[in-house]
Amino acid sequence: MTIEEVIEFLSKIQPFQELDSAALRSIAGGVIVEFYPKDTMILQQDGPPSDFLRIIKKGGVKVFIKPETDEEVIIDYRSEGDSFGLLSLIGGDRSRANVQTVEDTICYLVNKETIQRLLDSNAAFSEYFLKSFLNKYIDKTFHEMHNKSLLYGGGDKLLFTTPVGELASKNVATAPHEISIKDAAGVMSSRGISSLVLMDSEGLPSGIVTDRDLRDKVVSKGRDISESIQSIMSVPLMKVEARDYCFEALLKMLRNNIHHLLVVDEGRLKGIITNHDLMMLQGTSPISIVREIETQQTVEGLIPVSRKINRIVNLLLKEGAKASNITRIISEVNDRLVRKIIEIAERKFGEPPVPYCWIVFGSEGRKEQTFKTDQDNAIIYADIKTAKDERKVEGYFTDFSAFVRDSLVLCGFPHCPAGYMASNPKWRQPLKTWKDYFSKWINNPTPEALLFSLIFFDFRVVHGEVKLAADLRKYLETLLKGQNVFFARMAGVILGNRPPLGFFKSFIVEKSGEHKDALNLKLRGIGPIVDMARLFALEKGVRETSTLERLHALNDKHPIVMELGEEIEQAFEFITLLRIHHQIKQIEASVEPDNFINPSNLSNLERRTLKESFQLIMKVQDAIADLYRAGMVTQ
C-alpha cells in the first residue's frame, strides 16, 4: 500500500534505516511525492532555500554550480536513495547549488519540521547528515568543492554528448566461464588487462572478473585458485548500449557501485567501459592535466590548472593507487608545472646569460609530495670568469627567481619559511660555490650543516643544464667517501628521533596543546625512514633521491636494507598512505592539512600496522646504532 511502500523504501536507505518503524511511519505519513521531467531545475543556486529535504525515489539529478564567468561545474550526481537540499532547508537562507534532473525523477519530500525534529532527537540521524552532508557544504568548504569540481569543468559536456561506444575499449578479452581462477588470472596477466569477461556455453557474457575481484575475493580471502572462476565473478553483468551517452554509463556505475560496464550493440558485446575511461573523458586524469599544463602560455593560465593537482590525489586514492604511485604522479605533474613557469620566465627575461639548472630538494627532491608543499628550490649556474659578468648574471637571476617564486605562490606553492629558495641569493650560486657549501658541511658537520645536508642532498634537476647538477652530485660522492664522522652524525640524528611507542607498546601522544592525543606522523614516522634511506644511499653512492628508489637500489648494497628493506618499504608506504588519507579528510573538511593523527581514530588494523611500523623503525635504529655508533662504517 501507499504508505507502506514509502516506509519500505526509507527503511533501506541511509540515514532513515537508523530509525524505528514508528518514526518511519510518521515520516512516511507526511511525505509529498513530486515528479520532475528530465532537465527540470529543482533548486537554483543563490535562489530561495529548499523547502523540503528531497529524497530521490527514482531517477537522478546533478548538483552543479555556475560561477558567473565560467561554464557550469558539476559537484555531484545523486541517484536513488540519495537526498538533496538539506543545508539550505536547515539554513533557510539560500540554495547552495543548482539541482537539475538528468532523467525523469520522482522525489519524496520531507518537510523542515520533520527533519529538524529528527536531527534534534536522533543522534545517528544527525551524525549521518553532519558527516556526509553538512561538512561538505558549509560555505568555506564550498570553495574547496568548487575548486574540486573544476576538475569536471568542460568535461561534463562531453559526458552528455559522447556515446559510450566511442569510448569503450574495443578489445574485450573473453574466456569460457568454466576455467579456474588461476587460468583466468593467467589470461589477464598475459594480455595485460584488468578485466575479463566470462562467456557461457552459448557464447553469451555471463560474468566479469576484475583485478579488484582477484584482490578482494581471492588473495585476501585465501581462496583456492583451482576453484571455478564462476565462484568469484561478478553477476549479473550490467550493460549499457553503445549509443547511450556516457553520463548514463556513469549513473549506472554510481548506482550499482561498480567500475565496469559491458557495452552492447543490438545485444552483441562491443566492448567494455570503466570509470577510468569516464574520468579521462572528464579531464580528471593526471594525463589530461599534464596536457592542460603544456598548453598554457601564461602564469594566469596555469593557476586554474594548478588547483586541480591536489584533487588528483583524491581520485587516485579512490582508484586504490598506492601511496608511492600517488606521490610520484603528483611530483611528475608538479615538475611539469614548475618547468612551464620557468619557460615562461625565460621568455619574459630573455635567454639566461649562462647555463644554469633549477634544482629542487626536500620532499620535492624525493618525489614524495602529496598536497602542495612549501617551495624548496635553488639555482646552480655555470662558473663565471669576470666580476662584470658576475654582476650581469646576478642581476638576471635576481629578477628571474623572484618571478618564479611569485608565480609558484600563485599556483599554490607557499614560500619556504626558512628561505630555501632560489630567490634567496645564498641558494643562487655558481657551481663552485655549491661545491664549497657541500664540502664545508661535510667536513665540519655542525648542527646547522647537518640540517642543510639533510635538506639539500636530496636535490634533483627539474629544468636546465643537467650536467651542472650531475657534476655536483659526483663531487658530493667523492666528498663523502670515508667520511665516517659525518655519517655517524647523520646516524645520530636518526637515533635521536625514536618512534612514539611507550614501554608497553602504547602510542605516545601529545599531552597537551593543539594536537593533544595526537602524534606527528611525518616527523615521527616518515622522517626516520627518509633519513635512514638517505644515510644508506649517501654512504653507498646511490644517486636516487626518492626513498623507495633508494631502498630498491640498496637492496644488494647495504646490510640493513638487505635484511629489512622490504619491510621498511611497506612501512613507508603504509605511513604515507595514512598521512594522505588524513590530509584529504582535512581538506574535505576545509581544515588546513597537518600531520597529526590521533591513533584512537584509527581502525584496529591500522593501529596495529602503525605499531608494527614503529617497532620496525626502532629495530632499524638499533641496527644503525650498532653499525655507525663508533663513527665507523663497515664496508
Binding site: 500500500m1 511502500e5 513530486e34 521531467p37 525523469d104 520522482i106
Partner: protein, 222 residues
C-alpha cells in the same frame, strides 16, 4: 438559516469561476478510486473508496482517505477475485452514506481526478442520490481523457495500434510512464498510481498549451 437556491447557485458559479481560473500548478485536486462489486450501476455497489490529495503536482501522502464499505446488496464472486476484499472484511464496516459524507467532506471543493472516472462518479452519484443528499458538484477530470488528448496533440496516438484496440487501463498507462507499482492493489493504492499518472500529465500540459484549470477540465472531460 436556509440559503435560497439562487444564492447557492450563484455561490457555486463564483466558486467555480475562481477555481477554473487557477493555473493547473496551483489548483487543488483529490484523486480518487473506488472498488466495486461489479460494473452494473443498477445492481452493483461500492466496496471501498480511496482518495489522495494533490496541490498542483505535489502528491500529499499526509492527506489520504481510505474506507471499506459494507455494501447493501452483497458482493458477487467475480469482484472478490478482482480486489480481494471478502464479505467478512466489510461486514463490520460503516454503511455507504456514512462513508460518502466523510468522503465529500474530504474532497471539499477540489477538482476530482480519476481514471475512467465516469464509472466511479456514476456509483457515487447514485449512492448520494439514494441517500437524498445534494449532488456532488465538484469539477471532474478523467486521466484517461487527458492521456488521449496528450497522445493526440503530440501525434503519438493511434486508437488501433497495429490493428489492435489500445489498452488504456490504469496499469498499462502506469507501465508506459514507468510509474512504480506493486502487485496487490486497492482503492487507495490505485488512487496513488492515478495521482502519479496525473502528475506526469501536469508536467507535460503547460508545454502543450494547457495552463489553466479551465483548459484542463476541457481536455479531461469524462
Amino acid at each position: 438559516m436556509m440559503t435560497s437556491y439562487k444564492e447557492r447557485l450563484t455561490g457555486f458559479f463564483t466558486k467555480n469561476r475562481e477555481l477554473t481560473a487557477l493555473s493547473i500548478e496551483n489548483a487543488d485536486y483529490t484523486v480518487i478510486d473506488t472498488e466495486l462489486t461489479g460494473l452494473d450501476v443498477k445492481k452493483d455497489s461500492i466496496v471501498s473508496v480511496g482518495a489522495i490529495k494533490m496541490k498542483g503536482g505535489r502528491i500529499d501522502l499526509g492527506s489520504l482517505f481510505y474506507r471499506l464499505i459494507n455494501p447493501a446488496n452483497g458482493m458477487n464472486h467475480d469482484s472478490v477475485v478482482i480486489h480481494g476484499i471478502t464479505p467478512s472484511e466489510v461486514a463490520g464496516k460503516p454503511a455507504i452514506d456514512v462513508v460518502l459524507s466523510e468522503f465529500t467532506d474530504f474532497c471539499g471543493s477540489d477538482i476530482i481526478v480519476g481514471h475512467f472516472i465516469s464509472l466511479d462518479m456514476n456509483f457515487i452519484k447514485k449512492e448520494l442520490g439514494r441517500a437524498g443528499r445534494q449532488t456532488f458538484s465538484n469539477s471532474v477530470v478523467d486521466t484517461r481523457g487527458v492521456y488521449e488528448w496528450v497522445k493526440e496533440s503530440t501525434g503519438e496516438y493511434s486508437r488501433h495500434y497495429a490493428g489492435k484496440p489500445q489498452e488504456l487501463d490504469l496499469f498499462t498507462l502506469a507501465r508506459e510512464y514507468g510509474i512504480p507499482f506493486s502487485e496487490g492493489h486497492n482503492a487507495l493504492s490505485d488512487a496513488f498510481i492515478t495521482a502519479q499518472l496525473f502528475q506526469r500529465f501536469l508536467s507535460m500540459l503547460p508545454g502543450l498549451g494547457v495552463r489553466s484549470a479551465r483548459d484542463l477540465l476541457k481536455i479531461g472531460k469524462p
